[in-house]
């Protein structure tokens, strides 16, 4: 058994080599993505189906990597039976469950248990990929690397995410894991580690982009014999899942980064702070920590270097604000997660009053590669000011959503139209919300803007942690701002007045706008409020809380004006400000919309002028006799059932008819009647 403490670097290297050989037995290997997205789509059933199917064909499923005997390794390899392994996120979340087959690297999408026999057959008999399960059903794009989604990517931090069994230290070791730690501990002084990180220009991936080397330097130089390092896994932006995927897919990489950070700053204790809503990430990281400790890579006298480091995992109770450093520290200390004024910065006075270095999950995920291959290699990708790669969680109205890693400085166009495959349904690109609620929105004029810290800051946005929510022409920017504001206001810790009360009042004003009751004075007040909150809030989250308002105002002022002056939503998205219309050409008269309507506003047309007869019937008004129809209409009605139409005054704007229509005949248009202040309906002449 290799399940024992590794005493020094030589032993580590021997073990790595032995495990790498053992890994060879795992070919061919069927890797089932068990990232959260794929799991939700039934990946666990798919993996069970694979195991069942393979069992029919012989032994050797899911081989144990703990094989020490070279002969046994050889024997297993000759048996040539496929292995099944679960993995972390493979990236193309939208198309899950995903299955990768190695060594070829075929990527199958949308795999169901029924598909398993075909895949197994192809794997065992070596007949090439199962074309119908490829992402584009195209043989030339059988390998993941050939798919448009992956082509613009540069997977460095995510190198093994989705390709290995997460949390299994043996597999991480087999891929050369913990070599960077060994190198740092045996070849480098802590100062040299910091210098290397500084030279590489690594910047914090959590949002602000603070130079990591500088942070480490300040912590190292801070007075105090007891210091802490913390990995911040309190990812909370709506639409962001980079840290979760990294922790679920390759936890040892993050842990290795944390240990190196501890060595560099002189900490002997550390915490991993992961939100409790990430149970899988928590479980895998906890297991990784326990395994690392068993192997002597964590704990006393690591690799015989004399350096000792203990780490604990602390689950966050799900407060967005705990991603803020000082609030996170309060949370670990058992207090309510509320930020405190800085300075003093945590690097000087942090956890339990000791110097503390807090790094984001992805930042630490960058560290092992950086140390192992050096600063120069690290700088090969990215820009001068923002070297390396950045992981983005691509979400919203793009053809392909998922987890991507691209070089810093890639353009939005590369991301949205390259990896993302453009806007879903052939709609127009409108904007992208970057960096979550603290970030800002960018528009089509920024499509060729390089994604790096400086360029985004200039454009009034920020990379943030890396959430990208793509919006199409049907999105109302006022509603988008309202959505993010509602998130921020309910997640505000409630400590300082500008954030607690300001976000609440901004939400109030935005809600008024989307409901069509706001005035121009409200817009002015919103602007004043947004500017003031940015200037006066206590912490970074509060200061950036108005960003969604400020950036949408900057680029989409016209939309705001339409909402407050004409009470009109140009994107026809704000339900209070739209009317529903049925396109008589598309309508097949099936009546599903009328069935779905809770207020009886949808009625079949029985009159030539195309108005619904609902009101007339409801009022029991006299029989107008059969409607007169034009000869042309008469000709049509014989073949086709009469179309339906919607009475705007009865309509509750619940959107049920639109959801029910099989032909997409129901559409939203800017509202025909608006409620005045007293709530009574009035017809407006305002056309579109």
């Amino acid at each position: 058994m290799t399940d024992r403490r590794i005493e020094d670097r030589r032993e580590l290297e021997m073990l790595q080599a032995r495990l790498a050989r053992a890994l060879e037995t795992l070919r061919p290997r069927i890797i089932v993505c068990e990232g959260t997205g794929c799991l939700a789509k039934g990946a666990a059933d798919v993996r069970r189906a694979f195991i069942k199917e393979l069992e029919k064909r012989g032994p050797g499923i899911d081989l144990d990597l703990a094989l020490e005997d070279p002969d046994e390794v050889e024997r297993r390899r000759e048996m040539g039976v496929a292995a099944v392994t679960p993995s972390g996120c493979q990236g193309l979340c939208q198309r899950g469950p995903l299955v990768t087959v190695e060594p070829e690297g075929y990527l199958y999408v949308g795999v169901r248990p029924d598909d398993v026999p075909d895949i197994v057959q192809a794997v065992v008999e070596g007949t090439g990929p199962v074309v119908r399960l490829l992402s584009d059903r195209d043989l030339s794009q059988a390998r993941a690397a050939d798919i448009d989604f992956f082509r613009p990517q540069e997977r460095r931090v995510l190198a093994w995410c989705g390709r290995i069994r997460p949390g299994d230290i043996r597999e991480y070791l087999a891929r050369g894991g913990y070599s960077a730690l060994a190198k740092a501990l045996t070849e480098m002084t802590p100062d040299e580690v910091i210098e290397e990180v500084t030279a590489a220009g690594l910047r914090g991936r959590g949002g602000a982009g603070f130079p990591t080397g500088k942070k480490w330097r300040v912590t190292r130089d801070a007075e105090g014999d007891k210091k802490y390092v913390i990995v911040n896994g309190d990812e909370g932006d709506p639409g962001a899942f980079m840290d979760r995927c990294l922790l679920e897919g390759d936890p040892h990489r993050v842990l290795e980064g944390l240990i190196i950070a501890a060595y560099a700053v002189g900490a002997d204790e550390g915490y991993a702070y992961v939100r409790a809503e990430y149970p899988r990430a928590v479980r895998l990281l906890r297991r990784a920590m326990a395994e690392a400790e068993r192997y002597g890579l964590l704990g006393e006298d690591i690799l015989g270097s004399g350096f000792s480091f203990r780490a604990r995992l602390k689950e966050g109770a799900g407060a967005f604000v705990c991603g803020e450093e000082t609030a996170l520290i309060a949370s670990i200390e058992g207090r309510r997660g509320m930020p405190r004024p800085r300075p003093p910065f945590p690097a000087v006075r942090g956890l339990w009053g000791r110097p503390t270095c807090i790094n984001n999950v992805e930042t630490l995920g960058n560290v092992p590669g950086l140390i192992l291959y050096g600063a120069a290699a690290y700088r090969e990708v990215g820009t001068d000011g923002s070297p390396g790669t950045k992981i983005f969680a691509l979400a919203g109205q793009v053809e392909r959503t998922g987890l991507i890693e691209v070089p810093m400085g890639s353009t939005l166009r590369d991301v949205i139209f390259g990896a993302g495959g453009g806007i879903r349904g052939g709609k127009e690109f409108k904007a992208v919300q970057i960096g979550g609620p603290s970030g800002g929105c960018l528009t089509s004029r920024h499509l060729d803007l390089p994604l790096d810290y400086e360029s985004l800051k200039e454009a009034g946005a920020m990379i943030g942690s890396g959430g990208l929510v793509v919006l199409d022409e049907d999105s109302c920017m006022v509603e988008v701002a309202r959505f993010f504001m509602s998130f921020v206001q309910s997640e505000s810790c409630g400590k300082c007045v500008p954030c607690r009360e300001g976000t609440r009042r901004m939400l109030e004003l935005l809600t008024k706008m989307t409901e069509g009751t706001a005035t121009k004075a409200d817009l002015e007040l919103l602007e004043e409020l947004a500017g003031s909150v940015r200037e006066s809030a206590l912490c970074g989250l509060g200061k950036s809380a108005p960003n969604p308002v400020l950036t949408t105002l900057r680029y989409f002022r016209d939309e705001y004006l339409a909402h407050v002056t004409e009470h009109r939503c140009p994107a026809a998205a704000c339900l209070e400000l739209v009317s529903f219309e049925i396109d008589p050409e598309k309508c097949i008269g099936c009546g599903l919309c009328a069935k779905a309507c809770p207020s009886g506003a949808v009625r079949q047309v029985d009159r030539a002028d195309g108005t619904p007869d609902g009101r007339r019937r409801a009022e029991g008004a006299g029989d107008a006799g059969p409607a007169k129809k034009s000869p042309a209409a008469k000709g049509k009605t014989r073949k086709k059932r009469l179309p339906y139409a919607i009475d705007d005054e009865l309509c509750l704007r619940c959107d049920a008819c639109r959801a029910a229509c099989p032909k997409g005949a129901v559409r939203r248009v800017p509202r025909k009647t608006v409620r005045d202040r007293s709530g009574a309906a009035a017809t407006t002449a305002a056309g579109d």
């Binding site: 509320m338 004024p341 505000s492 409630g494 607690r500 300001g502 609440r504 009042r505 200037e535 006066s536």
Partner: protein, 719 residues
């Protein structure tokens, strides 16, 4: 501003650091933030959440200033630096402050006219100062109920601006944390544990939160109406006793300087209101000092328990009952001066005046909110008649005097009524920290040295430092006495510091004979019922008390002739049955939070929970008749003695004896026998002193037999 600032600009060769505030050079002299430097320069930077005695919170954002090169910063949390150029009043700052105030006002119950804090409200003052004439935002979302569960305090969440001053006061200075922030975003609120009422949690009623609350969110529970009713009832004799600390503070409400002796004016004002008699609590303080000194000497002679802790402060007593049950035996059994006075009035004075005790309405005029709680304690109610009927604070008395239109400044002074209107100087200083200890030391000196005893000015325990320690040589100060004649005295004020001292005593790190504890900073002069003022005000009040003491002809309690008369006519001698009955009491452990009972995580309970509602219903249906209720206390005291082990043993035995269906085992918080080991309640029986080693035996004796009923067959089961 008419502030004369004598500050010279920096000159060459001077190594003092200077900074510029609004164009003026101001020296930096160790201030911890810009706000304090500005204050020195005569600029009052507005804020709600900055208190020099509390930690820096930085939440109200009103104290923003502009620092050249750094932009907008909060002056409360930015350290001053040499060469810093600060502007406190720029257009930008004005705009930010006004909007912040407007935001606070929007979420505030603005019914100012009916608010007791009107006129003294910091929010009202600042809104006024900044000329806010409109609020452009919406209102609060509905009204929260006002919390009136506490006997001392009223909490109105609708007026809370969430500055957190009360929260920090309660946890940092008082070490309790009875209130904390809860919920998030705009739902954030300051609430007691489990969102219960203040009266149902571990609040000790000290009222320090009221002292720091800038608005009317935390106020004293007013009892002035009851006093007015009694005054206007012709069949009732209204008697007021006035505590020492009131006389040096009440005048502040009428423009007198803090520390000004106003006893005569207050007596006159009370008489003018229609009060029949006004007595002085100092009389009872002399009595307390006399009794407590004898208790102390007896304990020293009998070998303990020592140290003797004073028990005049009801907040401190409550704190001990809730947190340090094992310390209760060290608390003096003497009633507080208020309660001694109540006892004397109802049992001694009233009969001698030919009055029925229940026709005498005793009003205490106290600097203290906890006295309201103390007066209502069952220990001090005899046959349904409380010794003290009603307690009003300094602030309430001021309100009554103001309502009656009395000009305190010009009213001629009147003396207290006798015989209970006289006290020694030692009794007067009961009102400040260190006073009780000094009074006891004076009494001891008087006992030891008789009539020749010198005047004792026990200065080491005076002042407002945190912990004061001193050693008294009972042999007369000539240093020849034996070591046994030395008394080690410690004095603390503020419960957080008291808690530290108690821990040190328990751990044997310190050794004292006598410890005086007052819950409020500065002692009673800083009581929760006093007019609101900064720390300097408290010190001035203390100085006022020592001034009165210096002028007093009665130096020691035993100098008070009426005390001797009281013993002669009523009590007999010290330690008599009557003295014990009327002047002493006992305190008991008390749970911190009312009505919290956790179901024990027994395997059965866990299993039922896992099985879901269906499983629960089935389990309930299986139980024949009423199951036996068994609860094990897991409060702090019992927990430390191994109550979890007891629970485990009980759980195991439930399975082994097959009693799972017959017994409802639960964990409960505090059965109020904290000083007697793990407590277990079986049915109605309370068993104390259960240990991990005796758990099995107790189970067999108390639970097994009672739970075992007729053995039911599966056929008899329902469901």
């Amino acid at each position: 501003m008419a502030v004369d600032i004598k500050m010279t600009p920096p000159s060459a060769g001077e190594d003092k650091a200077w900074m510029t505030i609004d164009g003026r050079q101001v020296p930096v002299e160790g201030e911890r933030n810009i706000l304090e430097v500005a204050r020195k320069a005569g600029i009052d930077i507005p804020n709600f959440c900055y208190h020099s005695e509390l930690s820096v919170y930085g939440a109200c954002r009103l104290c923003l200033v502009e620092v050249e090169g750094r932009g907008v910063v909060a002056s409360c949390s930015t350290a001053p630096e040499a060469g810093m150029v600060v502007h406190t009043n720029t257009q930008r700052i004005r705009r930010l402050r006004r909007l912040t105030l407007e935001l606070i006002l929007a979420d505030h119950d603005r019914e100012c006219t009916t608010c007791v804090k009107s006129g003294a409200c910091r929010l009202q003052e600042l809104a006024n100062r900044f000329g806010l004439d409109r609020v452009r935002f919406g209102e609060r979302d509905g009204r929260e109920p006002v919390d009136t569960s506490s006997p001392s305090l009223v909490r109105d969440p609708n007026k809370c601006i969430l500055c957190g001053d009360c929260v920090r006061m309660c946890s940092e200075v008082q070490g309790i944390g009875a209130i904390e922030f809860a919920y998030r975003g705009s739902e954030t609120a300051v609430v007691p544990a489990f969102d219960k009422g203040l009266g149902d949690v571990d609040c000790v009623n000290c009222g320090q939160c009221v002292q720091v609350c800038p608005t009317g969110a935390l106020t004293v529970r007013s009892e002035t109406e009851r006093v007015w009713e009694a005054i206007h009832d012709p069949d009732t004799t209204v008697v007021v006793q006035m505590a020492p600390a009131v006389r040096v503070a009440l005048g502040e409400a009428f423009g007198l300087d803090p520390g000004t002796q106003a006893a005569g004016k207050v007596v006159a004002a009370l008489k003018s209101l229609g009060v029949d008699r006004v007595f002085d609590t100092t009389f009872a303080a002399d009595l307390t000092a006399w009794e407590e000194t004898h208790e102390f000497l007896r304990r020293r002679k009998e070998g303990g328990p020592l140290p003797l802790f004073t028990s005049c402060c009801p907040a401190w007593v409550r704190y001990c009952e809730q947190y340090h049950a094992d310390l209760l035996k060290n608390l003096s059994t003497c009633r507080s001066p208020q309660q001694m006075m109540g006892s004397v009035l109802k049992r001694y004075w009233a009969p001698r005046q030919g009055l029925e005790p229940d026709r005498v309405f005793v009003v205490s005029l106290m600097p203290c909110t906890a006295k309201k709680f103390e007066a209502a304690r069952p220990e001090f109610v005899r046959e349904g008649c409380p010794d003290v009927d009603c307690v009003i604070t300094t602030g309430e008395a001021a309100a009554m005097i103001r309502e009656a239109g009395i000009d305190l400044e010009s009213i001629p002074e009147e003396p207290f009524d006798n015989p209970l209107g006289m006290g020694s100087g030692a009794a007067v200083i009961f009102g400040t920290t260190g006073g009780v200890a000094e009074a006891v030391v004076r009494t001891v000196a008087g006992i030891v040295h008789g009539q020749d005893a010198p005047r004792v000015d026990f200065t080491p325990v005076r002042g407002h430092r945190g912990l004061k320690e001193a050693t008294v040589d009972l042999s007369g100060g000539d240093g020849k006495g034996e070591s046994g004649d030395r008394v080690r005295v410690a004095v603390v004020h503020g419960l957080a510091r008291a808690g530290e001292l108690v821990r040190a005593v328990k751990e044997g790190r310190v050794d004292y004979d006598l410890v005086e504890v007052m819950a409020c900073p500065g002692g009673c002069v800083g009581g929760g019922g006093q007019p609101v003022g900064p720390g300097e005000t408290r010190a001035a009040r203390s100085r006022g008390l020592y001034r009165i003491d210096r002028r007093s002809q009665l130096h020691r309690p035993q100098d008070n002739p009426h005390i001797a008369r009281l013993y002669r006519e009523w009590l007999g001698e010290v330690g008599s049955h009557m003295a014990h009955e009327a002047l002493h009491t006992r305190y008991h452990p008390h749970r911190r939070i009312e009505g919290v009972r956790a179901t024990a995580s027994t395997p059965a309970a866990a299993g039922a929970a896992a099985a879901g509602a269906e499983g629960d219903a089935f389990a309930a249906a299986k139980v024949p008749g009423e199951p036996l209720e068994v609860s094990v206390c897991v409060g702090t005291g019992c927990y430390l003695r191994g109550s979890h082990h007891v629970l485990r043993v009980f759980n195991r035995l439930l399975d082994e004896r097959g009693l799972r269906d017959r017994v409802n085992l639960s964990a409960t918080f505090c059965l109020e026998k904290c000083d007697r080991g793990v407590s277990v309640k079986v049915g109605d029986r309370l068993i104390t002193g259960v240990g991990p080693d005796t758990a099995a035996e107790v189970f067999e004796r108390e639970v097994s037999g009672r739970a075992a009923g007729p053995v039911e067959t599966p056929g008899r089961r329902q469901g």
